[in-house]
Each structure stands twice: as structure tokens, then as C-alpha cells.
Symmetry: D2
């Protein structure tokens, strides 16, 4: 059904609630004959994992993926890859206070009204724990398209936007700081800022930028599955995302055509990249570039008003273990969803010409 | 195949190139028993039509839709609604100069490299003429959900953002000015600005905002077809769109959670609407609100560099009849795609509960 | 939506009612660069056309297809191929007597109860006129896979089954007799039989067999889109079809494994073909072979009981121009649907290996 | 991707190889608020389980399903229902002799040639063990449509067709004999026959009939997802199935229209049911009736020729534990697939009218 599956050739279906027995999914359409690098998969899971640093949630989740099918002697068979990640560290008691109340800017209320019934523990199906399955699938997708290099990084935290240029050097720094920023000084500054926000019992939003280089000319579809539309949908699928722009984005809307157009080089490349690597929904061989806006986490460690099932407004403080700023941990998630979209576009492109 | 169809229950498939014989499509899944208001459909086509005013392209396209099926005695039968819009005013000669060149920031180059073959006339399949079919389908979709009122308007032109508040009064003004702005003074100012841009042989981008009110609580899906993700994909599907944000959007990324959270009223509404009417991918009963960034039109009426098939850079001026600023004519297109997404979500929601 | 589209990579969406303005469809996912043989398309339409001989309906339908997109200078562009076939010969008056009655074993009653509203003329959407669009699409699909030769023929009419062997010689005879049988003597006998049935104002069923040779090893999917399951669904989609069997079929159910198993030759072929060219849902390189059962046409030229909208049983005779036996004209339809399934499997197979 | 998922609103995706760690799947689109009867699910698993009687395989599989999501406090939440069935009893050593050979009329050869790589143990993905997941999903689907009663039974074994009438009384006998026949005498006779076949180291095919009563008028789609086409595809998806017919089926092809047409009763029912409960792809309120042909199991307990990877023909005997006749155990599988198709049609039908 709508909502059950992501992708067209390479498809991911998932299941799981944050405090149910396990998360998991099925990745179908992965070509046969791919020798999987399991260490690379585990590395992506480790990048997403809570409790990595002082500025993220201190929940402990082992996040060990167990592959159940589609792989034989380390090589993909072409069959569906089923996998499960057990939910080991469930402190469901942490959520008893939420059984009959709706937290502001959470999905509690809309889920309960739509479905008439919900698993309130830890957000249930609405929890960002869901993304653990995306990271597994994305780590495989990356291996389907080894020619492509996907690198996301934090480019803004709250009102502070990183103003420097991001080159290959900067991208290499991303995994060397807990903020996942392309500059160590700025990263340090932002960590201090996030700590101060947390001390206030508050949270803050941010922006992740992503570059996919090595995508050859020709991936994507012209009308209803434009490459950037699929990327945009993928990003807007991530919890807490409020906006997506590619290439010149919202800033491009302010420009004149004479300044915005990307003039060609003789080799068919472009001198500028306001197009963000995509023309008419199809990759043009330049790096694909986009930005993703995340709202501040809705769960606060300070008192705020909630609604209860009887229609009363109450005051309640957040409990449990939560991120004061979600962007550092969302970096591998952005990359995973990007990889799923690009690997799918790659496979579909194989059917283009006679 | 991927790219052929839009929607899940209510689906639109389209065909056509701007200088082929006709555009058209099939709208499937439209419920039976709907007495169609054909005047309303024609009105939407008229709103999209070129040549409406001094600030849009002067091409004349009659844009008469011919329905071929799915309607009997004015009422939908539940069968697929096939329709065709003939391409009456084809000045293909206008495009001879483009046969062997690739214009900057157009899809010419990516199409030819992907498919090895293209209809170069008027952009072929990449032309925004495609949107005429979306407007037909969207006008029907609006009638499936009469309780919903969708109103889009121009909120920025180039660097000039409309700074006032937009209320019901403002929304009523939108069809009273050729800019489709919610304020007549600002509209007049912007018209002058666009005329000056055109005089320079240049173009300029802009932003369209859209409000959908009357959407009841519960439409949308929690994970892979979040309501805002489907809206974002729909908007990114429109030609020239570079970005999408809903509710607080990119500005929300700068905020703290304590300021961003939308506190409830006792009736289950919210006091603010940073959520843009959607929580966890599901409508919450508040107005749905989003913004869409359009790049400046790539075709300039001034000399600029193009690439030819032999790899030479040449200088060429745009010919033909083009919009200096696309946003006024894109307003009904934004509404049409919004209507398709919402009517689809409405139908799918009927299958939710036992 | 479900029911709107056929296929996964190569997809066909259709529209039209037999007495509406036109039939038509969109074929998406056809690879670019295919030089279309339009004569071959027209030939298939001519094979399906009514009025070809004394044993089929005498309705005249010019059945001229007009291509609206996806083809430039005779070559496919990779874009959706839109096409329309006007309904030229509408004698809607022939159907006035059906407005308020439901004919036995027609879709009149189920359509009206499901949709609450129907176009009663000529069966509306339920008419086999729909298949004209399938034949257009199938004729293109055949050209996507020129290595494959698809040959269907009439193998039974009413109780008379053709008992001889069908070899290449027989297949060549099929277009040389109006029954489309692989043997001229038997064809002549059957024509006489059908004429006698028609003289009684009656109709009769029959069986079509189909062989697809040249399908290489490896097309199809293992579980939910087994090649024979997709073929079976395609055949059961054709009006009046009541059964499908492939390879040994229902007769195979009576056999022992020791007799049924197809032993290999050293080259990987098989000595027998009870498998019908498919193992585990995947083509094995042997000819694909299946049989399709058609019920007798429900419209009789003799008095029979019908139900009216007030719940009365009345007596009524069929009017209009109808086939006494549908199988001769269904031969190109069986081939068209087979071609759509196989070309789709071919394209999907391109995505199988890394 | 094609092949990954079954259904349109209610969708089942599965994974697993017979000798991998586990089988499992995700059932999406199940409405919320359904209080699941877990005993009924276990009962269906027990019906499918090997080792039930002397005429089926003696493999022991505990077949305990573990639900991982989509159910909270015993009630469906509307989220995807993930489930896993561990593969407890893997005697992989039983299959070492198959590593480099291809068994006749198995999927060994086509899988290896298509994918270049396979899990040879127990048939891998091609194993009928896959159906354990379908039975879990089908058992839930039955609970979505409690008004429908689905009853399958063995109606032929090898050359022996049950010739008596099958009434409600007969259907009640089905679970009282290990053959799952609607008549105890005939069941006993057939058991003896199957035992004699097994004694010969041979296998034999058979036919399963299925009746779905209580389906209201109006389920199904007119063109590309006709209810009987979806049922046919579902049946042809089951391992070893070679044919499908509904209502009068292949026998109907031999009849005249005057005898075949189902005349109405005044209440809108029909006096006969050659239509098999479906008209024009839509249920007509009469019992849905169809028959499914199963070939004899390909694995024999006698010496037969196999092909090895070097292209040599060798002689080999089957090892392991296999069914001499698959139809008794396939009865619950036929019912499960029927339930998935019907529940999906029921949900889709909710979107039909305005």
C-alpha cells in the first residue's frame, strides 16, 4: 500500500515500533553477485547510534543487525534481503506518563485520531528509531553504486550557519568531530552552544547539507520521478525535516536568469552548479548538492503544556533520554536515504535504451 | 514504470511533448457519482493559460480539454478519465536553432545523453506545457474534496518578499491581479519590476506560498508517504522548482523547541502552526501551509553561451515566446498538484480502520 | 490505482468505453531508440478488427491509431507513448433496450451495483473494444523483443479440440484461415460449425493456445511475479476468459513425477516440455506454451430472460452485431498481452545482476 | 520492485530461504482496530505444517510465528505487521549432493543462470517453505473479512477426480481427513493410492477446489485487476501450480451460450453459477468458485537423471524429506492466498464511490 514501501526497483519495506520487540525491513531488488562489506554496514549503524557523544541522547542501543535472507556466503543472491534489529534497551516505563496525553508537536494526537489506537511507548511507529532500518538498507545501497561518493554534514545549528567553503578537506573532517561539521573550530563552537541549549532543558534545529559526487550523467526520470523530487521526498520522509532545497534552492528564487544559468564547458560540464547536478530531473554529471532543514526536537526537558484525552491542558516535563539537537545523528540517515534514491535511479536507468 | 504515474489510489498518467500533436492523460481512481463542474475545470485551464497578461508569455494556446471516457451524462463512472488537449499553436520553426545545441540550465543535454534521441522542439517532454494535463486532473481532484479550500499565491519575486500578513481578504485578491499576489500594491510594484527585467532580456525567480484549509485530521501516512513528503515531491515535480518547505520550514531550523512547539488548545487545535498543519506525516486539522521556490526561467532574450553537439561553445539569443517570471502562471499548477495529493490521501484514508 | 495499469517497467494504462468518443492508452517505459514498424502495428489492428469474415461480428470499426507522443521521426524517445483510437461507428441506439435491464452473464449488473452509475451503451467500459488499445501496445512490445516469436492459434471450438500436432508449418497456416487454426481442414470444419451455431442464434466457447519461442533463459521473478503467474493474469484479464494452464496444465495434475519431470539434455535444454518453458517462475530457454479457455459470448440472438431495474424478469433478444464465437478474433489479443508480459520481464531482467 | 510484494492496499512482502535463518514478511495496510485471534493464526500454520500425517513429508518444523510490530495489546495499530518464523530444523547436509547439480523440473538451473549465484540448500528461495509466511498473512486477511467463508479442498489426486457433489456437509469433513477431501470414503481411497505412489519412490499431482461464500456484490476491478485475474495470479504464485480455472472454466469453453448463461432470479441472484461468482471482474454476490491444478512434486525417491555444472548427465536419487503429493498441505495455502486477494479487494472497494 501507499506508505509501505520506498523505491521502485530497489525497494525498502520496514516495520517496527521503538518499544516493540524489534525493528526491521526487507530490501528487494538488490542485484545478485554483490559481495557485501558487513563492516561498512556496521560502521553506518555505529554512526547513527545514540550515546556516541555528550551532545546526543544517552540511550544505549546495541543496534546489531541480523540478516535473515538474500545473502549466501557473503554475496547477495538477488532475493529479498530480510533483516531485524532487536530493540534491546526498552525502558517502556519511561513513557507511562504519556499514555493518556498528547505532547505538542509530536505525532501522538494525529496517530491516535487516525488509527483510534496507538502504541504510545517512545513514539511507537513515529519514533526515529525507524531510521535504523533505513541505515542498514542505505549501507547496502551505497555498495551497489561504489562509483558514487555521498557525504553529508551539519551546515547550520540553530541560527548559526557555517559560512566557510566546504571542500574535500572539509568533508574528511566530518567524522572527526561529534557535530559532524566540515570545520573543527566551528564544530567546537556549536558543541558548546548545544550544551548550553540542553542545560536550558531546551532543543534546537539545524541544517544538513549533502553532496553526491560521481553520479554519471543520465540518472533520473523526466516527469513524475525527477531525481531531485525523489531526493526531496526521501529527505522529507526523515523525522523532523521541514524543508528541502537543491542547487541554488530558495536563494535561486531571488536571482536573475543571467546570473543563475550554469554555462557549459566544452566537455559538457558546467562552470557553476546552481542546478545542483540535476537538469530536468536527470543527473548532469556535476555533483548533486542539496540542503535539509530539521526542526528542533519536540521533547523538552522543561515543563510545557500537553493535552490529555479528556481535553484538559496540563503541564508536564519530558522524561526519557533525548537529543537536544538531532542533526549530528541525522547525518548518516540523510546519506542512507540518498543512497537508496541513487541506487534505485541507477538500476532503473539500465532499462532506458533499446 | 517509475516516472509514469503520480499518486496511489487517485493516479494520473500523462503524455505529450510541447510540439507534438497533443498533451493528455488518464486520471484513474476517481470515485463514481461525482457530478463534474466543467466550468471550474475550464477556469483552472484559463488561469494557467499563456498570454493572459503583459508579464507572461504571449503564446496563444486554446487549451481546450476533450474528455474521452470515465464520464457519462456529466457524472463520473468510476472508470479512468482519459483526456486530450490538442497542441494548436505550434511554431516549431521557432526552435530550429536548437536542434544541435544545448541551452544552459535546460534539460536539452541530459535528455539527449540519457535517451540518445530527443524531440528538441520547445523542450519536448521537458516543456512546462506538460502541466496543462496536471491542471485538468487537479481541477477534478479539487471536486473530490469540496470541503478543502486550496489557495496559492505569489509571495516573492526575485529579491522582493511580500512582508505583510496574508488573511482571507488577501487570498481573495489573488485572482484580481495578474501577479497573483495577496496585495494589490505589492502586485503592482512587482509587475513593474518584472517588466524591467524583461526589458533587460532577463528573467527572475520567485516563491509561491500555498494554504490548504479544511483538511480534516487524519489524512496522510506515517512513514514512506508522509503527507508533507508527498506534497514536497509534488512541488519538486513542477518545472523550475528548487525548494520546498512547510510550516516553519528553513526558519524553523533556527529555532529552539520551546519556541517552535505548537501548544494545544483544549479542543485539540494548536495555538501556533509551525507544524504547517501536519504532525508525523498526518494532517492535524490546522491549515496546511507550505512555500515553493522557483528558479528564474532559463531561456533569456539576450545573448548567452550554448554548447553544440560537436562540443563548441557558441553565442545564441533565446527566440520564441517565454515568461520573464514563471510564478504568476505557476499558481494554478501548485494548486492542482496539491489537490491531487490531498484527494489521494483522502481516498486512502478510507481504508484505515476496520 | 489497482486496476489502472498493467506491467511494472513497461506499463500500459488505458481508457475508453465502447460508445464513448475514443479508446486509448499510454505505454510507458518503452526504451528509447526503437525504430517503430507502424505497418506491423496496423497489421495487428487489422487482425483484431471486426467484420473480417463471415464468422465474426459485422460491425465496422476503422480502428486507426493516432500516436500523440513518445515518438519522434519514427523512433521512440523513451517518453510515454500516448495514443487514441476514435470510436467511429457508434450505433448507440442499438443499446437503448439495455438501459434499464441487466443481461445474464454480462457485467451490467455488477458494474451498476458497484459504481451506482454506468454507461450502458455497448457494455461501456466492460466492452471488449478495450482490447484495441492492448493490441496497439502489444504490437510495440513485440518490437522491443524481436528475438521472441509469439504465435497463438485456435485449438478448440466448443467441444471440438484440434487433435493433431502443431509444428512450425501449422503456425504458418494460422493467418491463412479465418478461424486462425493451425490446420486448414479442421478450420473449415469449425467454420461450418460456428455458422450453424450462429444460425441457431447461439454462441460457443473455445480455446486458444499460444507458443512463445526465442525467450532466453532467465526472464521472470521467483516469487510474486512468476512469469507464468503474470502470463496467467494477463490472459484472465481478457474478456470472456475462464481458465489458464501452462505446460502440462490440468493434465499434468493427473501425472506421476517420474513421467512429468523434464529431463535435461547436456546443453541444458530439456527433452520434454511439461514445464511449458518456465521453471520456478523463470524462463528456462524452452518454448513457453500455454492454453486459454474462453466462454461462449453471452449475447445471444435468441430470446432469453433478463432482469430489469425493478426486479422483474423479462424476455429479450440480443440486438446489435456480435461474434458467435470470440476465439478467432481473440488470437491477436492473446499475443498482445503475451508480448506485454514478456517485454516487461525482459526489461526488468536487465536490473538483475550487479 | 516487481516480485517483491503482493497486493495493492493490503500488501505482503516476504523474505527467506528454506535453509537460511528464518522466513518472514511484512503485512502492510491491515486496518487498525482489529482484535487478532492468534489461535486462528496458529491453527492455519498447523494445517500447513509438514509431518501431520503419513502421506506428507516427515520434516519437523515448529513454525512458530513471532510478531514484531503493528499489534499493540492484541489489536492491530494500522502500522506494518512484521513477523518472523525461524527455520529450526535445517538439515542442510541433506542437500550437499545438490550443490553442483540441477534437478529436473526444479528451479535450480533457472535460478543459477539468472542470478549467477544461489543458495542451493533445500531449494533456497524457490522452496515452498516460503508459503509459511503467506499462511500467516492469509490468516490475518481472513479476519479482516469475517463475513467471507473460504473453504478449499482436494478434488482430484492424480487421475482420480472426486465425482460427488460438495455441499456444506462435505466442506465440514475436509479437516477430518488427512487428504483434506470433502468425502471420507474417497479420502481413504486416495490415501491408499498416495501411499502406493510413495512406495514406488514416485509422486503424483492433484487438484484443489476453492469456494469463497459471503463475498458481497461489488468487489474487484473492471479491467487490469479483475477479481478472477488476481485470484488466478495468486494461485499461479503457489509452487507447483500449473493451471487455474474459475466457474465453468475449461469445461465452459465447450458449451453454448444458451446453456452457459446464468439466468437471474428476481432478487438479482443467479439460478446457475457458471460465472463462478464473478462478472466482468467484479463479484456478483454468488459463491466464488475456482480450481487449481498442481503438478506432481519434482523430487523423486528413485534414481533419475540430473545435469551437473560441467554439462554432464548423471543419475541421482532424491534425498531429504518430501511430500509424495502436495495437495493436502496446499489446501491452507490456497485459502491464504484467496484471503489476501479478497481482503485487498474489500479495502480497495471502499474508495469506489464519492
Amino acid at each position: 500500500m501507499a506508505g509501505a514501501t520506498f523505491g521502485s526497483i530497489l525497494t525498502l519495506s520496514t516495520f517496527g515500533e521503538s518499544h516493540g520487540p524489534a525493528m526491521g525491513g526487507i530490501l528487494s531488488g538488490c542485484p545478485s553477485g554483490l559481495s557485501l562489506d558487513f563492516e561498512a554496514i556496521n560502521l553506518e549503524l555505529a554512526r547513527r547510534k545514540p550515546g556516541q557523544s555528550a551532545i546526543v541522547t544517552q540511550r544505549k542501543e546495541p543496534d546489531q543487525v541480523r540478516f535473515l535472507s538474500g545473502i549466501y556466503e557473503g554475496v547477495t543472491t538477488g532475493g529479498p534481503i530480510g533483516f531485524v534489529i532487536e530493540n534491546a534497551n526498552q525502558k517502556s516505563g519511561d513513557y507511562d506518563h504519556l499514555k493518556s496525553v498528547y505532547r505538542p508537536s509530536h505525532a501522538d494526537y494525529t496517530y491516535e485520531k487516525k488509527y483510534g489506537h496507538r502504541d504510545h511507548r517512545g513514539g511507537g511507529r513515529a519514533s526515529a528509531r525507524e531510521t535504523v532500518s533505513w541505515v542498514v538498507a542505505g549501507a547496502i545501497a551505497k555498495q551497489i553504486i561504489p562509483q558514487v561518493h555521498i557525504a553529508a554534514y551539519v551546515s547550520a545549528v540553530g541560527p548559526y550557519e557555517f559560512s566557510g567553503t566546504v571542500d574535500q578537506q572539509g568533508l574528511k573532517l566530518v567524522e572527526q568531530n561529534i557535530l559532524r561539521a566540515p570545520n573543527l573550530d566551528w564544530a567546537h563552537e556549536m558543541e558548546e552552544f548545544i550544551k548550553s541549549v540542553r542545560k536550558d532543558g531546551d532543543t534546537v534545529g539545524g541544517v544538513i547539507s549533502c553532496v553526491a559526487s560521481g553520479v554519471p550523467l543520465g540518472w533520473g526520470s523526466p516527469i513524475f520521478d525527477k531525481l531531485h523530487a525523489n531526493l526531496g521526498k526521501a529527505m522529507l520522509t526523515i523525522n523532523a525535516v521541514k524543508g528541502f532545497e537543491y542547487g541554488s534552492g530558495f536563494a535561486g528564487a531571488k536571482m536573475r536568469g543571467s546570473a543563475h544559468n550554469d554555462l557549459y564547458t566544452e566537455s559538457g560540464g558546467t562552470q557553476t552548479n546552481n542546478s545542483g547536478g540535476i537538469q530536468g530531473g536527470i543527473s548532469n554529471g556535476e555533483p548533486i548538492f542539496f540542503r535539509v532543514a530539521f526542526k528542533p526536537v519536540a521533547t523538552l526537558m522543561q515543563a510545557q503544556e500537553v493535552l490529555d484525552q479528556e481535553g484538559n491542558i496540563k503541564t508536564q516535563s519530558g522524561k526519557g533520554r533525548h537529543d537536544p539537537c538531532v542533526v549530528p545523528r541525522a547525518v548518516p540517515i540523510v546519506e542512507a536515504m540518498t543512497a537508496l534514491v541513487l541506487a534505485d535511479a541507477y538500476l532503473l536507468d539500465r532499462t532506458t535504451k533499446i
